[in-house]
Amino acid sequence: MDKEELIATLKTIVTPYAQDPDALAHIHEDTDFIKDLKINSANLVDVVLDVEEKFDIEIDNDSMAKMLTVKAAIEIIEEKLASDAGE
């Protein structure tokens, strides 16, 4: 999956939680889940859980701590997928 596809998949995941439709429509690598999309911080857990389900990966607490932007989410997904593939 390339970066554009990953962003498109993330967009689908965050759509139910995003409260800023304009920011959601223009989602890009530097989009911040809380500051830009105005996702409630209690719903960021749902985003993490949805990403885990969608990509069949496990996001540990250290990774979750960093998952505040699209860019960080992509890095975490790519890293987990790569380490899963290496097992």
Binding site: N40, S41, A42, N43, L44, V45, D46, V48, L49, E52, N61, M64, A65, K66, M67, L68
Partner: protein, 193 residues
């Protein structure tokens, strides 16, 4: 330094399905989960812990300038209920927070401070949640003026003495809560350092 967090319980019930698999595990320690799941009102206890963690995080974020999303690492303990209020501790890294919370049928609000005596000298204002909350506050409060500093963080200024200190603001659902410390009692000795 202080931080606060508010949850509108009706809004939370609409927005969050905390019973979904894995949810509690991501934000609560095993001990916290046990207390939640054995409580008469599990969702109340969950949102109480949540506001305690978030209020503490706001202080850490202000002191360190670092943003992170690690509710699981903010460990709640020593919870004591007294009527509609609760006190507790939150530990994160080398920080130890003292918590005072207020619970009603409609909302939960937690305040986090680093020095226990600050709990005795806090002002909390509850307003309806609106983009004009700052104007609402300033029109209704004769003693203090709420504004934002250059970094965009809320601050409170005592109108008579112009003394300024930090404030913490939390919005959720129907409510806004504004927290700030009161002025030291007049006449109390101030250390020079």
């Amino acid at each position: 330094m202080l931080g606060n967090d508010l949850v509108d319980l009706k809004q939370a019930a609409r927005e969050s399905n905390w019973q979904r698999e894995g949810y509690l595990n991501k934000i609560c320690t095993p001990a916290e989960q046990e207390l939640i799941l054995s409580a008469d009102h599990p969702s109340t206890l969950l949102w109480l812990f949540w506001t305690m963690k978030e209020a503490s995080y706001k202080v850490v974020n202000r002191l360190s300038g670092i943003r992170s999303y690690a509710p699981h690492s903010y460990v709640c303990s020593g919870l004591i209920f007294e009527g509609h209020e609760a006190t507790a501790s939150v530990n994160f890294d080398s920080y130890h927070f003292f918590i005072k919370a207020v619970l009603t049928e409609e909302m939960i609000h937690s305040s986090a401070v680093l020095r226990k005596e600050q709990l005795q000298n806090m002002n909390i204002h509850y307003l309806s949640n609106s983009p004009a909350y700052m104007d609402d506050f300033n029109q209704n409060c004769r003693e203090y003026l709420l504004s934002k500093n250059l970094a965009g963080l809320p601050q409170i200024t005592h109108r008579r003495t112009s003394k300024t200190r930090e404030a913490s603001v939390s919005h959720h659902g129907r409510y806004t809560a504004i927290l700030y410390s009161g002025l030291p009692y007049s006449g109390s000795p101030q250390s020079a350092g």
